[in-house]
Amino acid sequence: MSFTSAAFILFAVLTLLIYYTVPKRGQWIVLLISSFLFYLSAGGWYLPFILVTILSTWLCALGIRRRDRLDEDYLAAHKADMTKEERKAFKNNAKKKKRPYLVGGLVFNFAILGVLKYTGFVLSGVNDLLAIFGSKGVTVPSLILPLGISYYIFRSTAYLIDVYWGKTEAEGNIAKYALFISFFPAVLQGPISRHKDLAPQFFTPHNAEWSNLSEGGLRVLWGFFKKVVIADTAMIAVKAIVASPDTMTGMYVLLLIILYSAVIYGDFTGGIDVTIGLARMMGLRLAENFDHPFASRSTQEYWNRWHITMGSYFTDYVFNPLSISAPMKKLSKWSKDKLGRGVGMRLPVYLATLITWFLTGLWHGASWNFIVWGLLNGAVILISRELSPLYAKFHKKFPSLKDRAAYGGFCAVRTFFLMGTIRILDCYRDVPVTFMAFGSVFYDFASWGDLAGGKLLQSLGLELWQCIAIALGTLVVFLVSHRSKTRPVLTEISERPWLFACSCAVLILVILIFGCYGIGFDAGDFIYQTQF
């Protein structure tokens, strides 16, 4: 069931109706049932996988809870007779005892993800390697990839680690836990909400409140608008450019950078808007996943504002533990002695950064494109960090510049193009083609000739009204986003009944009449849903 299908809309409306008519303490059960129906509709074979993940992480978390309680009781009883050192030793020992549950749960679930998502990639790599030695290689099996696996594995492992760290309470009721993992608006593409933020909300009663329904509903429409009017229409041109990397070069690649940014923004933030809006209509507040990312002035800032919940997952559960782990500390000491303080300080952090970005790339997809994409992001962040003293000097010389809006704009545009350029690795079929296409920007100036006359539209496969739809749509999104920095526009609108009703009407009309959906278009599913 794609978010933009009539079936999904009907399904969501029915769920909402039932949700608000059943007795309040049964509301979470309604959500659980619809979540499983939603997941089942994607294919019955996916269900066992998500169930195994739910069951395994639930059991491991309970194991950790049991150990925690035993140790807490012991400590409470004997605290007075123990010295500080004894207490420390006891705590360390306690940690060791609960660690197997954590390690077991993580290894098991990441193994599932690894096997299902990366077997084909690794094996074809192995085959290429064997081919060098003239060996025939192994056949690459085609495994099923359960829908949303990258997201639900992340959500459940984050829960397990949080329980281990004592940041959230382990859930005793498996049905309640299953809802947290499979909650249907978020199961396919996040946001990756943390258990302690989201889970309690499911089990408090929710009344149908106007503010929730109106603001949530408006946000759903807004999401559809971004997805169907902007992203899907621009996707036609993106496909056209990507399909002929040999002929559509130079100017077209620049255009691709801009258009694909529009696609990925409309598609992903639009999808998240639908998710968050729908949850909001149920009275639930999910974690925000975007904070005006294209206004970022640096790559680091961009990654704090784009796909926030994924970024914080990698920071909290990969980068932080990795950079202060014992081997890293050793590495740091060793390099400080041998290579000097500057390198010694940097080496572990830089290594951890690159590993984190390598994994981030890998998580996005099993292909070299994504790995290179991840590593490039990491490299850009590290390089700009090394350059920061230079920037500081520059700003000391021109102190007035830093606060000027124009300079901020320049930084934002620079970051936009930098991120957009790296992002086209998503589009082309492999890494060399991407680099070749990008290279053509610097020598193929003839392609700019196509800008004049009707040739451009024809080669992009767009009609004039579609270009206007993309341009106007983008402008509206930009204005709304810009204004929302001070106060969310959607909130403001939904507080005024007439404005709200008119906005909904206009959005519905624009989506239905000018949207890119149905036959005649290669109506794509949300990219972030199909890919994961």
Binding site: R99, L102, V103, L106, V107, F110, V122, G125, V126, D128, L129, A131, I132, Y164, P321, L322, S325, A326, P327, I355, F358, L359, L362, W368, I371, P432, G461
Partner: protein, 163 residues
């Protein structure tokens, strides 16, 4: 946990970096029978009619038909010596939807022609394919290659779309 995941991460990183150097070394297979080669021009099902005809040179004659229902565009069959090319309207002009070999003057890239035996076909194609009556059908990607056999001998070879 830290230890295990760390080791895993390092191992994976090492493995992938090794593979990075091999990923480009794609091997060149033998003659691909799923595209049609004539006059040094390679033509595939789904190619644009305009470019394909330019590459294949002049046809001897052709038939055309308007599609029922008054949709824009026409179906064409171009007759060459030894083969025919069928085209049908698509979004940006006509595309090739069938190539039919009609005599043994023309062979497909792996050498099979009309008159080849069933054994020749199985050997050259590397497998039995799927049988359809007496005929043998092979599919690769979006292309379907059909060998029509009568009394153990190929009487016709057709490229069609597998979608």
């Amino acid at each position: 946990m830290k230890k295990t995941s760390r080791i895993l991460a390092f191992l994976m990183a090492a493995l992938f970096l090794c593979l990075a150097f091999t990923a480009c070394g794609k091997k060149d297979g033998g003659a691909d029978p799923f595209s049609f080669v004539y006059n040094d021009a390679t033509v595939k099902i789904g190619d644009s009619e305009e470019e394909a005809l330019k590459a294949l040179g002049n046809w001897a004659s052709y038939n055309l038909s308007e599609s029922c229902g008054g949709f824009a565009g026409k179906d064409y069959i171009y007759y060459y010596k030894g083969f025919s090319v069928y085209t049908t309207p698509d979004r940006n002009g006509n595309i090739i939807n069938m190539i039919e070999l009609t005599s043994d003057e023309v062979a497909i890239p792996n050498g099979l022609t009309i008159g080849s035996s069933r054994k020749d076909v199985v050997k050259a194609m590397g497998s039995e394919g799927t049988a359809q009556g007496e005929s043998l059908v092979y599919t690769s990607g979006t292309v379907k290659l059909t060998f029509i056999l009568r009394d153990d001998s190929v009487t016709n070879i057709q490229y069609t779309s597998a979608v």
